[in-house]
């Protein structure tokens, strides 16, 4: 009786394998989103530019402080809506269509899937951000001071937003519930967070709560990298944001490592 040869001789570990898998997952995600992608980028660009322009209709004569806040806040908006809103909805759809389990059966490390998704978000978010900033500069006489801190601020904001949405979507099983939560998130982001307007225009208790939630620190770090003298201390914001990022990575790892 002869022994059977193992089906594959490749070693499924190591940096090279991981890197290869990451590139495969990135391609997989971009290809599977090819229909949604152009529309999403368009919506991003339109809402980003739309917010900047609509503010002028709000006020008539826009006060410089309001213009500065909305022009910098819209960048945060375009960076996080995909990760916090579209991402969970896509995963909810996979769960509803029952392709979710298939995706996890692919022979790649699970971290590559998560990082490929963060990369996709970066590709999707940056064009909208750039257009929003360009429109803001053209429409308002802004006093911007861009510092190198913009790179870590944008990356950390994007990473945290994406991972929070990711953890949420993997943790919840009911697609309807995920849908409802994302709708509520949009409402919260646009209407009840000090992203597009200063925190002192919110009621006191809400303004006091926000430094502990991720949205206000996101806005603070990005705004501090674009302006001078508007945001006072960003160290705390970076710490809070880092904590949220670490917590959502840990939560995702726990959920995805589970076997069923």
């Amino acid at each position: 009786m002869t022994t059977l040869a193992p089906p594959t001789a490749d070693l499924r570990r190591g940096v090279a394998y991981w890197w290869h898998s990451y590139r495969m997952m990135l391609r997989w995600q971009l290809v599977s989103l090819r229909l949604v992608l152009p529309v999403t980028v368009m919506v991003q660009v339109l809402t980003g530019a739309g917010f900047v322009l609509a503010l002028g209709l709000f006020f008539g004569q826009v006060p410089p402080r309001a213009a500065l806040f909305i022009s910098t806040g819209v960048l945060v908006l375009t960076l996080v809506t995909i990760g916090l809103v579209l991402g969970p909805q896509l995963i909810a759809q996979q769960k509803a269509e029952q392709t979710y389990d298939f995706l996890w059966s692919l022979p790649v490390p699970r971290t590559t899937a998560a990082l490929a998704w963060v990369t996709t978000n970066l590709v999707l978010g940056v064009p909208g951000m750039a257009v929003a900033l360009a429109v803001a500069l053209w429409r308002y006489d802004l006093d911007l001071h861009v510092s190198p801190a913009i790179v870590p601020a944008v990356l950390l904001t994007l990473f945290t937003g994406t991972m929070i949405g990711y953890a949420l979507a993997h943790a919840l099983d009911n697609p309807m519930l995920i849908g409802a939560i994302t709708q509520l998130t949009i409402f919260l982001i646009l209407g009840f967070s000090p992203i597009n307007f200063p925190a002192d225009q919110l009621p006191g208790w809400l303004a006091a709560l926000h430094p502990w939630l991720p949205l206000a620190p996101m806005a603070d770090t990005v705004r501090a990298a674009l302006t001078q003298g508007v945001v006072e201390d960003v160290t705390r914001s970076y710490l809070v944001l880092g904590a949220w990022a670490a917590a959502s990575v840990a939560a995702t790892a726990l959920i995805l490592a589970r076997r069923r």
């Binding site: 739309g50 006020f59 008539g60 309001a66 709708q183 209407g191 307007f197």
Partner: protein
Amino acid sequence: MTSAALASPTLRRGPGYWLAGYRWMLRFDLASSRSWLASFVIVQVLMGAGMAIIYGFYLGDMPPAAATFLATGAPTQALVPLGMAMLPSLIAVRKIEGTYDFMWSLPVPRTATAASSFTIFTLLALPGVAASLGVAAWRYDLDLRVSPWVVPAVLLVSLMAASVGFGVGHAVPDPGITNLITNLIIFVVLMFSPVAFPIENFPGWLAAAHRVLPFWHMGNVVRDSLTDGLVPAVGTSYLVLGAWTLGTWLLAAWAIRRRR
């Protein structure tokens, strides 16, 4: 050879038959919406209340006149998404699910089906309107002068929104395009319409467009019924809204009379 008896001896015409058809369709629509009706009314109330508050966050401290203007725009904005977005997407869902043709195969006059949709979507808007007005009055400490005109104003605005939604939903064959149109409507209404802010803030071409489009006139008739002296020449607005209602009825009549 004997002639076969007719399957149904009742006469399928006349006001009595129409009224019976209308009642059946009303029951049919209410029963088929029972799974989402309650959650929908709650969302509607939250949206209405939220809109009244959120614009205030963006604007910061306001003089009472500006607050009154803003608050009396909130009810209108709360009811636009219902008729203009919810109703067409409901029709689009029926087209996707393949139940659309079944609806038209029911033995009732098509006008009765349409009247039933209008009734439900006109009345569904009322809780949101009440909530937004209540919250706005409480939050901004307003001096509202509610006149009896509030009844025809709200009913007409709500009916008009439902008529536009009904016309779009039935006349546009592709559900994907319907969704695109409804999203565009929401975007325009919430950000670029002179409902919550004065038309004087708008650039000339956009203001001119809004004198023909229904949104500004919707805001006008509702605001006029709640305040004194803020709206000049409200008669024109009633006429424009009436024209839009009739126009979209003609569109809908053309769309639902077609045979395939």
